[in-house]
């Protein structure tokens, strides 16, 4: 079966042009392989600068990769002509981190939700508005808000507008780029719940980009962890939370406030290596790094189907104590979520 979206050896480097000096180039993403089946949700986790947003933009064809390729239903995105690319925006959509910036501050929200139908000429003005009104109901926006401008809406309501607009053309793949991180904690859970229910009813695949593992636990089928543009670990969400194989993943889990993981699991406050050359990129910050890590880049190892890892010293299989930690972490996530929902 062909996956819906597939990235092969995907790379992206930024060039900084300098006057009368050699240009600098910086690898934002380096040889990423990923694939998503229809209806599946993959979370991409990483710190800022890990290249996760670039990855999302390249999967949608907004940014062109400088190496490797992205294919949609088996077809290379770069082979789409202008008209086909426009057609493609009906299928591939995006929800942004900052809903205030993603909306026209001056226009009534219903017009903005209806706009994709008009752009793609899928409906006339009247029909587009009535379908936008239906969509508002689906995303939980009360009808009286229809003619307000985004300024008069709360942050959560604005993000619902952005989600509504993204779903108007019935997309098959949606990238959520830090879709809840700009929102108040109390609103985050509501929006996450909305996304989960929309996904069940709408049947779209999604890529959930975030730096916050708590968010991931709630929505993702699978998790991919990026560090400085490289994939360090990938696997089913349950396994990643229960038994992180990579010290970096474990460190991210340990960084969740209230985590039962020991302090020793956290990263050292070392310098972040920007030039990824020989050796593991994490070596200066890793709690389990050895001499080998500084010499040799660890290869990507397939542990099990859908379970990949890049580390010379993968963490041992979960001991009973670690399992306790997993349960505690999971419990923490759920308790936070339920608090949010009650608030």
């Amino acid at each position: 079966m062909t996956p819906l979206i597939r990235a092969e050896a995907l790379s992206h480097s930024y060039k900084t042009r300098r006057f009368l000096r050699p240009n600098l180039s910086h690898m934002a993403l380096d040889g990423i392989d990923l694939s998503l089946a229809a209806g599946e949700t993959l979370a991409v986790v990483g710190e800022s600068g890990s290249g996760k947003s670039t990855l999302g933009r390249m999967l949608l064809g907004i940014e062109r990769p400088t190496g490797g390729r992205v294919s949609y239903e088996g077809r290379d995105l770069s082979s789409f002509g202008p008209a086909e690319a426009l057609r493609l925006t009906q299928d591939l959509q995006m929800v942004f981190q900052n809903p205030s910036a993603a909306l026209d501050p001056r226009l009534a929200v219903i017009s903005q939700i209806a706009e994709p139908l008009l752009i793609h000429k899928l409906a006339g003005l009247a029909e587009a508005r009535s379908r936008a009104a239906e969509m508002m109901e689906r995303v939980g926006l009360p009808p009286p808000l229809a003619n307000r401008t985004p300024k008069l809406l709360s942050g959560g309501q604005r993000q619902r507008v952005v989600i509504a607009r993204a779903l108007m053309t019935g997309p098959r793949f949606v990238v959520f780029d830090e879709a809840v991180s700009a929102l108040d904690v109390s609103v985050q859970a509501q929006i996450l719940e909305l996304i989960r229910s929309l996904r069940r009813s709408g049947g779209f695949a999604s890529l959930f980009i975030t730096h916050d593992l708590r968010v991931v636990r709630h929505v993702a089928d699978r998790v991919a962890v990026l560090y400085l543009g490289r994939l360090v670990e990938e696997g089913p969400a349950r396994q990643i939370f229960a038994a992180p194989g990579h010290p970096y993943t474990r460190a991210l889990l340990a960084a969740i406030p209230g985590s039962p993981l020991p302090r020793a699991a956290r990263l050292h406050a070392g310098e972040i290596r920007r030039e990824v050359g020989l050796g593991c990129a994490l070596v200066s910050r890793c709690p389990v790094a050895s001499a080998l890590c500084a010499q040799l880049t660890p290869p990507l190892v397939r542990l099990a189907p859908g379970r990949r890892l890049t580390c010379h010293h993968p963490l041992p299989r979960p001991a009973p104590r670690a399992q306790g930690a997993e349960a505690a972490t999971a419990g923490l996530v759920h308790s936070v979520a339920s608090q949010e929902e009650s608030a």
Partner: protein, 302 residues
């Protein structure tokens, strides 16, 4: 540094302190910078607009009508013995009527010129923001070059080479101002593209034309209006300067700059010939500057 004491406290003007110095002081303060000046400025600009539209009906005389026997008559308004409220010029033409027509002409040229500049600048700014390659760089280089040089020189050369015509003057005034709009619009569009709604709309599939016309333009209209308020007095100054140098409108048509130019030889005997158009220029540009300052302050406060 005796005077530094109060400055660092940065206290807003306190009317009660002013009233302690007496009512006159309070009035003076309010008149000099208070909102009263802005109101006066608006009132004056409305009358200017009335003059520009209604000059043919308001003027007591035909502005080209010469009465050789009544040359250089002093203004009747100040005790002169003549049929002219504001005196007559060296050809016996009514200063008031000529001023009204001059005002009308100067204003029309400045308005169309400002709008032309805004149109060119908006278009160039959008192109520069969208096409960041050679074309965009070339536009921004042109902006930088023009901003760094005295434009009057080029205006003089262009008029000298191509001759004097209404539309050439309008175009020159437009070109004098385009670079500010271009810079402004480019910045605003880039902001909307990289951190704002324009980039988001592209993801939904909206094309450049739709985004810029339906979304960006309405959103930046307010800023553009402020810029036009600031640009307009400059347009008037350029038009009057050119016509003062004899490079603007040609007789028998008239403009404020041309009237002042004509008055120069009669400044001893007929100072009103210079005074009336000078006052009109002063009041009009002053009103715009006051209004521009006022709007800018209000925008800065928001």
């Amino acid at each position: 540094m005796a005077f530094s004491t109060r400055a660092f406290r940065q206290r807003p003007v306190d009317p009660s302190r002013a009233s302690a110095k007496g009512q006159a002081g309070l009035w003076l303060r309010a008149m000099l910078l208070g909102p009263v000046t802005a109101t006066l400025a608006k009132l004056w600009l409305i009358s200017v607009l009335v003059i520009a539209i209604g000059a043919p009906w308001l003027a007591p005389w035909d502005y080209t009508y010469q009465q050789p026997l009544l040359r250089l008559s002093p203004p009747a308004l100040f005790g002169g013995d003549s049929p002219f409220w504001l005196g007559s010029d060296h050809l016996g033409r009514d200063t008031l009527s000529r001023s009204l027509y001059a005002m009308r002409f100067s204003l029309i040229v400045a308005i169309i010129g400002t709008l032309t500049g805004a149109a060119i600048g908006i278009l160039a700014g959008m192109v520069a923001a969208r096409r960041r390659g050679v074309l965009g760089e070339a536009i921004m280089a042109a902006v930088d070059i023009q901003a760094s040089l005295p434009f009057l020189i080029f205006a003089i050369v262009v008029v000298g080479v191509f001759g004097k015509s209404f539309w050439l003057i309008v175009l020159i005034i437009g070109i004098a101002g385009w670079e500010r709009y271009a810079r402004l619009v480019r910045g605003l569009v880039l902001d909307a593209e990289t951190h704002g709604y324009a980039g988001a709309l592209r993801v939904v599939g909206a094309g450049t034309g739709r985004i810029y016309l339906h979304h960006v333009l309405p959103n930046i209209l307010g800023v553009l209006m402020v810029q036009m308020t600031l640009n307009f007095p400059e347009s008037i100054l350029l038009e009057t300067s050119l016509s003062f140098l004899g490079l603007g409108v040609q007789p028998p048509m008239t403009s404020l700059g041309l009237m002042i130019s004509e008055s120069r030889n009669y400044i001893v005997n007929a100072p009103w010939m210079a005074a009336v158009p000078s006052l009109l220029i002063l009041l009009t540009t002053l009103a715009f500057v006051v209004l521009g300052d006022n709007i800018r302050d209000r925008v800065a406060r928001d």
